[in-house]
């Protein structure tokens, strides 16, 4: 951890970025378990195109931080073999839109190895994917393809929105005996937050939450916004804006885990507010949005005052970046949806 500001001398809490927290999480896992190794394109000397693995090859060597040939199927496919040999590979897909060559391995092999072996084999691997838009990138660099993987039984799919989660969830994902698709909100990489390392010798038992628990980031009484990853910040901004204007009271639930969903927290929140909006960058058609809406209508039916609204990308390919501003949900679209569900 290189970035420390204004942390109290007696505490391990510090302000840092999500990027550095992810790095610190991987470092802690590698220090704890010699079987943890990293593999991906450009992750060694360069530290990855987003520098998330910066310095790790220098400290852990080329055998544990492996610069892979430029082939995603190869990266994930060989990681399967490494996991079968007893390693815990953490692989980096450089950008969301580059995961598709590895899709076959992820859904056919990674997801199913434990099942097809009747529990005899385990594939403890993490597939890190920087995802989402908002950075002005060219095509294939801004997608939110989490629904593909959440749809596949055998995979766990998680995503982070805070420095604390970046640090702890990374370690929890690596420690999981199941394969985990770990989505990193690339446009939030450099946002700072407080990170509590938990102690001089970080221990997973110090993690503030379980890997699959949802977090209520902002309490409210009028409407629930179910969101995750890069959109948590947008939802919180909407909640705060509404609060400042004496508007509706918005509860923001950060799902953190997309498979499994923490349905207890979801249902408790919607049962309390009676109104629900789903918010993510992903196109809404056959998406996490749809699963959330279906779940809420089935399990919270008698508490609902309005239909569940989905606020997400429109159902087109991710557009050229000059359209991002209107493609990606923003505070106004969230508040507009809030007004709509309150109008019933």
């Amino acid at each position: 951890m290189t970035s420390t500001t204004s942390a109290p001398a007696t505490s391990t809490a510090q302000r840092t970025t999500i990027a550095k927290a992810l790095n610190a999480g991987m470092r802690a896992a590698m220090e704890r378990d010699p079987k943890v190794l990293l593999m991906g394109e450009d992750i060694g000397k360069l530290g990855g195109v987003f520098r998330i693995t910066e310095g790790l090859q220098k400290d852990f060597g080329e055998d544990r931080v492996i610069d892979a040939p430029l082939a995603e199927s190869g990266i994930v496919g060989t990681a399967v073999g490494l996991a079968l040999r007893g390693y815990r590979p953490v692989v980096e897909i450089q950008f969301d839109g580059f995961v598709y060559p590895a899709f076959d391995h992820i859904v056919s092999q990674v997801a199913k190895m434990h099942y097809r072996s009747q529990g005899k084999l385990r594939l403890p691997m993490v597939i890190r994917i920087p995802y989402g838009g908002g950075i002005g990138a060219v095509e294939h660099h801004s997608e939110s393809n989490e629904s593909y993987f959440a749809h596949t039984a055998g995979l766990r799919v998680v995503t982070v929105s805070t420095t604390d989660d970046a640090y702890w969830m990374m370690q929890q994902a690596i420690a999981s005996d199941d394969p985990v698709i770990f989505y990193e909100p690339k446009r939030r990489y450099h946002e700072r937050g407080v990170l509590d390392l938990g102690g001089a010798t970080p221990d997973l038992a110090d993690a503030p939450m379980g890997l699959h628990e949802a977090a209520v980031r902002h309490e409210g009484t009028d409407v629930t916004v179910l969101t995750y990853g890069p959109m948590v910040k947008v939802a919180l901004a909407a909640a705060q804006a509404a609060e400042l204007e004496d508007g509706p009271s918005i509860e923001v639930v950060d799902l953190r885990s997309l498979s499994p969903l923490d349905t207890e927290v979801i249902e408790a929140s919607v049962n309390k507010t009676g109104r629900c909006i789903t918010l993510s960058e992903a196109q809404t058609f056959t998406s996490i949005h749809g699963e959330l809406a279906a779940h809420v209508q089935q399990h919270c039916f008698y508490h609902l005052e309005a239909p569940v609204l989905r606020v997400g990308g429109v159902n087109i390919p991710y557009p050229p970046s000059r359209h991002e501003e209107v493609f990606l949900p923003d505070l106004d679209r969230v508040l507009h949806a809030v007004d709509t569900v309150l109008s019933y």
């Binding site: 190869g74 434990h114 009747q118 039984a153 055998g154």
Partner: protein, 409 residues
């Protein structure tokens, strides 16, 4: 087809391996004009020790680098090879029969490829790890996987009824080519464990990845070769070029034979007579020892032929001519090994009769195991989706159990 085309497809042709200078340059041809196909003759580069008549091939520049591995074999080893060939064929024919009797949903036959599998199977050491496709019943046999365990997935009671780590034989992989990368990753793990080039024969480990000629078209196959080369991984790629990928002849998969493609990836490639168990054994031994000693990957192309259908689901009479099959019948791996060992005085009719009886017993055992294999309880389908608890699976399992409990027995 024109007369000329019929003549060309039926007759032995110039091996593509004879293209001058190893160049991939091919003569110009029309879109629908097939390249000349190397269907009967492995060409001058093919390592062979037993010809079709079961006679030992004299030492040549091509086979002599591998001859020393045969010198190590005693009479029991040679008889053991023939016994394996015969029993593996019987395992296969029983699998086929069980499918026809409705006991199995599907069976991929290895008929004709027994030597191509028993060779590497016997060349592997206990610690060596095999990553098969789904036709490697002979390798499974040599690795000690009980043949009845192979039936579960084809009967539909499981997706693989053996513990891969018990015999170092991974589960069958259905998606063509995936296992090639798994093998390379496993081999990278072997390297990191320091289990190569120690000089300890019980420790040094190689990994063997199996696929067919169709598999060589896959991206995964080619990525596996790249990753293995770059990592200098202790892996042997073993391509059983059985000439047919379901209905597609191998000229739909490549213009340059698989063994020659290895050069482009930066490691050796060898073509071996896959119907000659001595040759496939010796070449596999050499490649495995090379891997174990830290010298990196090798690509072995076993030149063989799939005598039956791709699986019990297809009908090869729709896509190939019987003259081609007849040519390969004459190259039968069991016939030639039997002739060789008989001529050498190592087996006689009494020995063959005893193995035939053993095969009958084995078939009976497999049939009984298949017919009495219990259906798993349906609740089992919810097990092992995840290693750690997953609330959705648990909830659905409970709902399913409650629903099923509502029915009368």
């Amino acid at each position: 087809m024109s007369d000329e085309e019929v003549a060309r497809s039926a007759a032995p042709t110039t091996p593509a391996g004879d293209l001058p200078g190893g160049s991939a340059a091919a003569p110009a041809r029309g879109l629908h004009e097939p390249p000349e196909r190397d269907i009967t003759d492995g060409g001058p580069d093919m390592v062979q020790f037993l010809d079709s008549e079961g006679r030992r091939v004299p030492l040549t520049d091509v086979n002599s680098p591998y001859a020393s591995f045969l010198d190590e074999l005693g009479p029991d080893d040679l008889r053991g090879m023939l016994r394996d060939l015969i029993l593996v064929r019987r395992v296969d024919s029983e699998g086929f029969a069980l499918q026809r009797q409705g006991e199995l949903g599907l069976w991929p036959s290895l008929l004709g490829q027994e030597a191509a599998q028993v060779g590497p199977g016997r060349a592997m050491r206990t610690q060596d790890y095999a990553f098969p496709g789904y036709r490697e019943h002979g390798v499974a046999w040599c690795k000690g996987v009980p043949p009845e365990n192979l039936l579960g997935m084809f009967r539909g009671v499981n997706h693989g009824g053996w513990d891969s780590n018990e015999n170092n034989f991974h589960l069958y992989t259905i998606v063509i080519g995936n296992q090639m990368l798994h093998a390379v990753g496993y081999a990278m793990g072997v390297q990191r464990d320091g289990d190569v080039a120690t000089g300890d024969p019980d420790r040094d480990t190689a990994v063997m990845a199996f696929t067919g000629d169709g598999g060589t078209s896959q991206g995964d196959y080619n990525e596996a070769l790249v990753f293995a080369a770059v990592a200098n991984a202790p892996v042997v790629f073993y391509v059983q070029n059985n000439h047919w990928a379901i209905s597609e002849p191998n000229d739909r998969q490549f213009r340059v034979p698989p063994y020659r493609r290895a050069d482009g990836f930066g490691f050796p490639g060898v073509r071996v007579d896959g119907n000659d168990v001595l040759a496939s054994y010796a070449v596999s031994r050499a490649a495995l020892e090379r891997a174990r000693s830290g010298e990196g990957p090798t690509l072995v192309e076993a030149f063989t032929y799939r005598m039956g259908a791709h699986t019990t689901s297809d009908d090869p009479t729709k896509y190939r001519i019987s003259a081609e099959v007849d040519i390969w019948k004459a190259k039968d791996p069991i016939d030639r090994m039997t002739k060789y060992l008989t001529a050498e005085g190592l087996v006689d009719q009494a020995w063959l009769d005893a193995v035939a009886a053993e095969a009958d017993e084995l078939a009976k055992r497999i049939r009984h195991a298949c017919q009495t294999m219990p259906n798993p309880p349906h609740s089992e389908m919810f097990e092992h989706v995840y290693a750690d608890p997953h609330p959705l699976v648990e909830r659905e399992a409970a709902e399913f159990a409650a629903y099923m409990a509502g029915f009368e027995d």
